[in-house]
Point group: C2
Chain length 241, copies 2
């Protein structure tokens, strides 16, 4: 499985993905699940993926082909699309097409593939927008009421987001929130694994700001994880019932 | 859905279940999911249930019929079974039989029912044992390495258990742990709801000790929930990244 989370805040967008891919428990690999497309100053789009690797890789490859195709129209290339809504539509349509073509091949084995994506971005003169694209190609959008979207193993890390994330949360606090959300998931589910990819897109910057690959032995992440354990353990012993 | 959790500790067993049952989101009811069978001083057995209400109610009813049947053998009545392992086998076999009989009726509608149970108990001269019975009737047992079992919506509340529950945890800390685990689940998932049923079976007591129904507005539970929110919020702001 996978865990990816995206936060849409007043100050910008914060995105975090793990990198574990597995075909069964005995076949584990590391694959990047975060992809950025940008023309600095004009648009920045980040896509995070969960689900069947054959579906997500082919979808990203087809999106890239359309970007590189000099004859592609604004209906085909996410770098030409006039709005972020159109970007989400192109990605949704590509995902649904790839998935249905792969599923047609797999019919014989009665296996079906699935995948979902988080699409976050901003265009010149446009607002920051973040979408969760479903396997069928339809999508929902993050709003003020629910300023975060998750795909993959989302349940372990949801309680902390429910408690602390608001639109007004600062980017630093947001980074902390997604990392702690990931930390809980990593501890409870083997199918989510380090290293992590963290990206920040500041409002109006129209380019990818900070991007960090956090490795398994990253001292800063380990210290944060340990500090959070201490908070929970100490807090737990202090609480009266 | 449902969330039930059971802890098997050196000092005893702690069990907690919610009471929400739903057929779709527009049909929500309250049903007890914790059932105790005891002959004080000889044996105590507590069963918690998750899944299709028609399956779990029929299973519990059939277990009760066997208990009340004066001709039932030690292979049929959980109150006559010579070991807790046999109790788990009887419950597993009853669950699998009920489920397959109900599924046969539902074949036409292409709907299938499922249910799982946590069985915890102790017999005179026997050890405390706790089992998770799967829909097919097979089961696993809690051990020193993993002293807790969960059924239903188990993911939201697993991180706190992973962090604080050990065999040596005191019964008071164990109550706190399962209540906080439930609190996280209640906040993040609508299909789990108050009131809660909490039970404690002390080691060697051979009877149900404390049993508490915790109502939605229970001041003690609300205070604990608020205190935990404060711990998380304060701890969150203190942590450096």
């Amino acid at each position: 499985m996978t865990y990816c989370v995206g936060l849409l805040l007043d100050a910008g967008m914060v995105l975090l993905s793990d990198t574990r891919t597995n075909a069964g428990l005995d076949n584990i690999s590391t694959y990047k699940k975060m992809f950025t497309f940008e023309r600095p100053g004009e648009r920045v789009i980040t896509v995070m993926t969960a689900g069947s690797l054959s579906v997500t890789q082919t979808t990203i490859a087809q999106l890239r082909e359309a970007i590189d195709d000099p004859e592609a129209t604004a209906d085909q290339s996410i770098m030409l699309a006039p709005t972020m809504l159109k970007v989400a539509e192109i990605i949704g349509a590509t995902l649904a097409r790839v998935r249905s073509s792969i599923n047609a091949k797999m019919e014989m084995s009665q296996v079906s593939t699935s995948a979902s994506m988080i699409v976050a971005g901003q265009r010149q003169d446009g607002a920051m927008r973040m979408f969760l694209v479903y396997p069928e190609g339809n999508f929902i959008e993050a709003t003020e009421d629910t300023p975060f979207l998750q795909i993959g193993e989302h349940k372990y890390g949801k309680p902390i987001l429910d408690r602390v994330v608001r639109m007004s949360t600062s980017l630093d606090d947001a980074k902390k929130a997604v990392l702690l959300s990931m930390d809980s998931t990593l501890r409870s589910n083997l199918s989510v694994g380090m290293p992590l990819d963290l990206a920040v897109i500041r409002k109006g910057a129209l380019c990818l700001g900070e991007t960090t690959r956090i490795e398994a032995q990253d001292p800063q992440f380990m210290a944060m994880s340990q500090a959070w354990s201490d908070v929970l353990r100490d807090g737990f012993s202090e609480i009266q019932i």
